[in-house]
Symmetry: C2
Subunit: 410 residues, 2 copies
């Protein structure tokens, strides 16, 4: 297979097609060298960890969860091998497969990214608890003890249609067309083996995962993720995100656990609340992002500070209850996106909010414990509803020539 970048193809098609015309295939012969320029930035697919976790959060998301429709282990293995190859090509800004396809066969790449740069695409694959219950796969004994359905949590209003799934794919890119293309093509490749269960488009990142990034704002208008783990903090990544030698089965070493929550924001209620109430709900100033009582976004969160004889950061403020110090030092790597999915016909309001994604070493000790506290006491609960939930074991990255999931299925 020759690597043909999507930009190269475009240049070739303009020139090469001239003397070829209708009906001729193979017009790229002679142009089959990889292009050095990877405009738009490419993130390597292969590596110790899967990309899309420690990668500086891209601007856009397309996420999909799939269920197995045909249960043979060989078929699953073959699909994951094809997915990995395709993901590596797309991450490099190449077309999937061989562009010199017959005119009598369907193109191996659907083509909507022809001419677009790699746009920092990452494809991150995970396995849900239900995958290990598929009898025909015989994987029950390999389920990591830490991979369990997220238990019911206070304040949940879950809609089963937006949760769960045997396998997930998180596609992130700075260009939404590139993220869409990844999900659409993996779904196409997986047809017959998996069927899409649910999907989610995210139009704006709500976390920084690198010191190189500015903190974005969520749809409440507040900076989100100021206290997030940054990938440059290797000690925090090791302690809170990546699985090490003592963390469950060997096939997950170098992996992580992903939790997703579709969090609907009740924006019409939020928009009617006073600026002061909004700030006390979050515990930070709206415009600067500083902790209440401080002046800069990155000033430390002083939970002991008082103002007029009361805590400067209210006892039920979101940042207090979500803080590491309120949670036995536990932290999570957040990597969520804002979404809107039209109008909720029941309420006549925008169906919009935060598609929350986080990574951690142990969902029970980290996300679940934190959310149990938040769901009971957080002042923010008045303005949000958790409507979707899922958890996935994200295996380590693949070496070139291998595939994601090989440590489990190989």
């Amino acid at each position: 297979m020759s690597p043909i970048t999507r930009r190269k193809l475009l240049a070739s098609a303009g020139v090469g097609a001239a003397g070829v015309g209708l009906g001729a295939g193979g017009y790229l012969v002679g142009h089959e060298t990889a292009e050095a320029d990877d405009g738009g930035g490419s993130v390597p697919f292969y590596g110790e960890h899967q990309a899309g976790i420690g990668t500086p959060a891209q601007d856009r998301l397309h996420f999909a969860a799939f269920d197995l429709v045909d249960g043979s282990r060989a078929e699953l293995r073959e699909m994951l091998r094809e997915w990995s190859l395709a993901a590596a090509e797309m991450a490099g800004g190449e077309l999937i497969g061989d562009v010199n396809s017959e005119r009598l066969a369907p193109p191996q790449d659907t083509g909507e990214t022809v001419g677009l740069p790699p746009s920092r695409l990452t494809v991150t694959i995970g396995f849900g608890p239900s995958l290990f219950e598929r009898q025909s796969l015989g994987l029950a004994g390999k389920r990591p003890p830490a991979l369990r359905d997220i238990p019911p949590l206070p304040g949940d209003e879950l809609d089963a249609e937006n949760g769960g799934g045997d396998i997930c794919v998180q596609a992130c890119s700075d260009d939404p067309q590139v993220a869409f293309h990844a999900i659409r093509n993996l779904a196409r490749i997986g047809r017959g083996t998996v069927a899409m269960r649910w999907s989610q488009l995210g139009f704006g990142r709500t976390s920084s995962t690198s010191r190189s990034q500015e903190t974005p704002r969520n749809l409440m208008g507040f900076k989100d993720g100021t206290a997030n783990i940054r990938a440059e903090d290797l000690e925090a990544m090791r302690r809170h995100v990546w699985l090490g030698d003592g963390d469950g089965p060997a096939w997950m070493r170098g992996g992580s656990y992903m939790v997703t929550r579709r969090i609907r924001m009740l924006l019409e209620v939020w928009d009617r609340s006073a600026l002061g109430d909004q700030e006390e709900t979050i515990g930070r100033a709206k415009y600067s992002g500083a902790p209440l009582g401080e002046s800069d976004e990155f000033d430390p969160l002083d939970l002991e500070a008082e103002k007029d004889g009361k805590p400067a950061i209210p006892v039920d403020a979101h940042v207090r209850l979500a803080s590491a110090s309120a949670n036995n030092g536990e932290r999570i790597l957040r990597r969520g996106y804002s979404f809107t999915d039209g109008v909720d016909p029941r309420l006549g309001e925008l169906d919009a909010g935060l598609f929350f994604i986080c990574f951690q070493r142990d969902p029970e000790k980290q996300f679940v414990a934190i959310q149990r506290r938040l769901g009971s006491h957080d002042a923010l609960d008045e303005y949000i509803k958790h409507v979707g939930s899922a958890v996935f074991a994200v295996p380590p990255g693949a070496r070139r020539g291998g595939y994601v999931g090989e440590t489990l299925l190989g």
Copy 2:
């Protein structure tokens, strides 16, 4: 009202908040001058025509249709006045209203674009046929004869939930967060007067409307809109898009008619069809975009050309049936966007396709006549379904101090 750009506010908040702290308002006193730099590009809201028609198509869309809930003409007028002011501020990269709001009051701007540049935001407002039937408005006599519901068309599979509406707002921007912010804030301002009926997010433009733009690809992987009207072609705009002196009521002079169609693409069927079939369905080469038999995207569409004794461009090819020469010289200005709205639960497939938007002087003679032909004979019909439909009268632009709709209601 002082113009405070969103970037200026951010700079001010960092500095000004230091000596002020929790609970103090008015920390922007002394910074209330407009910022000269409009990074990200700003498109003026005021002008002869509304922006968002002749404006080079931005990358992202958020579209919403509203129904009137309280019918007084004075309230509608007041809402449109507030919408116009807010739209002009947002287009300039300013916060809506006065940022020095009381901590005891809700912020006048929801805040999620603080720090973001104008990002070429345009807000385009239109009136549906049903608005003129609202008894309490007394506008029945002012309905332009050309503004009529789109009649049933061959192949329609319309879902009433995704069509119609008394008033529409098309928000386009290069940043989806900026487009979302516009719709969300106009909905907030309009609360009590209008309620949102349906909305649509578009993640990638599928038309060029300026010679400065490259032709984008739609989700079928083909270049879309090669033959589109370009705004620089003033003669074509005058002939096909803008209403002149003889075109219906005086209040629409300088306006246009907008038709929207939610076109679902049956991507799983498309993806299984051979490259040759795809190219003959469209009538162009997939990668170069050239008409079949030609070599360059912008080579003229020669409908008489033959190859092997048959038309080079098949008789049922989309580009042939949509061409001006097949439609008595009629053309439309297309300004559509790709969308995906998750998984269609009935089919287990991606609900994705093209949110088609076009502008014209006469919907019946232009869009309807063209679509009547396409819906009956187009080879593309096998791969698409029209599931949503709406039409709006888009009045002329407003002068500074005026508002969009003033020619109708003033």
